[in-house]
Amino acid sequence: MNEINIQAHIDKFKDTPGGLLPLMHSIQDDFGYIPEESYPLISQSMNLSVAEIHGFVSFYHHFRTKKTGKNIIQVCRAESCQAMNVRHLEQYIKNKLGIDYHEMTDDQKFSLEPVYCLGNCACSPSIMINDEVYGRVTEEKVDQLIKDYK
């Protein structure tokens, strides 16, 4: 973690009403996660306790405090995807990558996360890799995507 970089993000949002939310996005977009070592710095500038910052970050599924793989695969587990057998597909992806949800592959290429609806319900089952959504995902498509993103 670079303190100067964190401070640059803080300076951008410290006077924004409700600025903690966009600030945390800004840090995560930059670092890939929110380093816990940044909490004291944020705490000073935003006039919040470290406990409040921890409480904020841990409340939201989107925010992470650990480094992730190069690519994040999110598998939609919500009802529409379940109706199209995502329970089977998620098992296939887990086996293929050799990891469970919230884990990272040994080569640090992929992290796997569950997500509850990508709004792509007309073409279930759906997964998202980084910022791209893929619909009507089959096992073959998973194989192809993992190859492409590796």
């Binding site: 409700g18 409340f59 919500a78 009802e79 709004g119 319900c121 073409c123 279930s124």
Partner: protein, 517 residues
């Protein structure tokens, strides 16, 4: 003159490879020396046909779909750019039965226009509602919305005009318009479509809301799972500012309204309005006690209109065509149209905007074409993860707020998820509790603890462990959650659970002859 070719940019179209198709069409045209212009339009919402490629001809727009990259060469071989015949030729887009049977008001432009062309927007009735509103008093605007009968399309169905009246009537130096774009319900995507495919409509609706209640700043609280909508909205806001439809002294009226998008962070509960406000304030999204209502004490303690995307996006057409025009659609107290979204196990999925009063059977079979798997449709969840499962015996009930309420079901945000006969409804009921446990904000006990206890009780029922006693316990638990939870998360999770048990007891291993459930 260059032929206009349309390839949608909606994120579901993109999820099926629309970008690759558009790129390949452009490259092939260049190679073959054919003069075309590719327009990235919104999607018409016929997702089983996506990517849907359209060509503008003297006979109107002609459709081809679903187009994969392997189809592109053959499309050129048969001169699709002149309207040539092809195995995937569908005919004139406007004449397709799926579209012809709809009443598209809010989604009138969707799929036709380029989402970021303000010229397209204006050419298709855009900003007429705003122009009219600028000549009206606050009260006249609020009255128009009241008369339209518009009710909150996020799911709670509270009359929009009454909410606006409350905010208008409070005296305050600062008021806000907040758009709830945290569309987390599975099976719903109409908010996403509105934002990606017709973003100026939402902007116009929010400006009118600001004029109505004297608010000069708005927030769009957008879920983080919608990265494409984020980009589109930010671009649209910039274009609207450059053209003076947003910002200071809008169209020289002396009125100001600024707008910004705030990215949410993956908490389903933040779709609940008070939790959303906490999140916007930079806090954990804990649900607030009501009263005070957000209309009186909302964002940063100021009077705030919190409306769903579709509610706000429907304001422009109401103001442009008049309250009566809108209210003439629908049945009883469910006035106007509802954007219905077909999802899950159906052959034809997509967006259907219809006046209230259509039945589930018409939606599932006439529009949906039955299940995708070809198996019998066993259950349908209407209105998202907190909506009841509907069994076939109720497929003929008209879709309106009051009729569904009688069934202990909800229309909600209009999401319809179909399951075929392979679904195990005890697993779905367990999942409802699991989802509630994952997404509960934790403030009230029935929701925080009840959701986990609910999973355990269902496990006991399906394992036939003191079954009758545990069914009774489940009913008591659900009753506590319905009546004791602070918000709809804990208060409505029992709807899918109890409907699953009531209509599909066999899936729980419950013998209906032995128990009165």
């Amino acid at each position: 003159m260059a032929v206009k070719i349309f390839v949608p940019i909606d994120s579901t179209s993109l999820s099926l490879g629309a970008d690759d198709v558009a790129d390949l069409i452009a490259a092939t045209a260049k190679k073959r020396n054919i003069d075309i212009t590719i327009i990235r339009n919104g999607s018409r919402g016929m997702f089983w046909l996506e990517p849907l490629v359209e060509v503008e001809t003297d006979d109107g727009r002609l459709a081809y779909g679903p187009i994969e990259i392997n189809d592109v060469d053959s499309l050129f071989d048969c001169e699709f750019y002149l309207g040539g015949q092809h195995a995937k030729y569908l005919g004139q887009t406007e004449e397709l039965a799926w579209l012809k049977k709809q009443e598209r008001l809010t989604f009138a432009r969707t799929g036709i226009t380029d989402p970021l062309s303000i010229g397209d927007y204006i050419a298709h009735d855009g900003f007429n509602g705003l122009l009219k509103s600028l000549k009206m008093t606050n009260q006249q605007i609020v009255d128009e919305v009241k008369e339209s009968g518009l009710r909150g399309r996020g799911g709670a169905a509270f009359p929009t005009g009454i909410k606006w009246q409350t905010v208008l009537d409070v005296d305050s130096d600062q008021k806000y318009i907040v758009c709830n774009a945290d569309e987390g319900d599975s099976g719903t995507y109409s908010d996403r479509m509105a934002m990606e495919n017709d973003p100026f409509m939402l902007i116009e609706g929010m400006v009118i809301a600001g004029l109505a209640v004297n608010a000069d700043h708005g927030y769009i609280y957008l879920r983080s799972e919608y990265p494409h909508a984020l980009v589109t909205l930010n671009k649209a806001i910039k274009i609207a500012e450059e053209n003076n439809y947003l910002g200071k002294n809008i169209l020289n009226s002396g009125k100001n309204f600024t707008l910004e998008v705030r990215r949410a962070a993956g908490a389903y509960i933040c779709g609940e309005e008070t939790s959303l406000l906490e999140s916007l304030e930079g806090k954990r999204g804990l649900v607030r006690y009501k009263p005070p209502l957000p209309a009186i004490k909302g964002l940063f303690g100021k009077p705030t209109v919190v409306n769903n995307v579709i509610s706000l996006a429907t304001i422009p057409i109401i103001m442009s065509k008049g309250a009566k025009y809108y209210a003439d659609f629908g049945v009883g107290r469910s006035k106007g149209t509802l954007p219905i979204q077909l999802a899950g196990n159906l052959k034809n999925t997509g967006l259907i905007e219809k006046a209230f009063g259509i039945t589930l059977r018409e939606l599932l079979y006439d529009f949906g074409g039955g299940s995708a798997s070809g198996k019998k449709i066993k259950a349908v969840q209407v209105g998202g993860p907190l909506g009841a499962f509907i069994a076939e015996e109720h497929f003929d009930i008209e879709l309106d707020y009051e009729a569904y309420s009688k069934l202990n079901a909800v229309v909600g945000h209009g999401g319809i998820v179909a399951f075929d006969e392979t679904v195990n409804m005890a697993e779905m009921a367990r999942y409802s509790f699991e989802f509630c446990a994952i997404e509960s904000c934790g403030k009230c006990t029935p929701c925080r603890i009840g959701s986990t206890r609910g999973m355990e009780v269902i496990d006991k029922i399906t394992a036939n462990d003191e079954q009758a006693k545990n069914v009774q316990l489940l009913e008591n638990l659900c009753d506590t959650m319905v009546n004791g939870s602070l918000c709809a998360m804990g208060g409505m999770t029992p709807f899918p659970v109890m409907s699953a048990l009531k209509y599909f007891p066999k899936d729980f291993g419950v013998d209906t002859n032995a128990s009165d459930t």
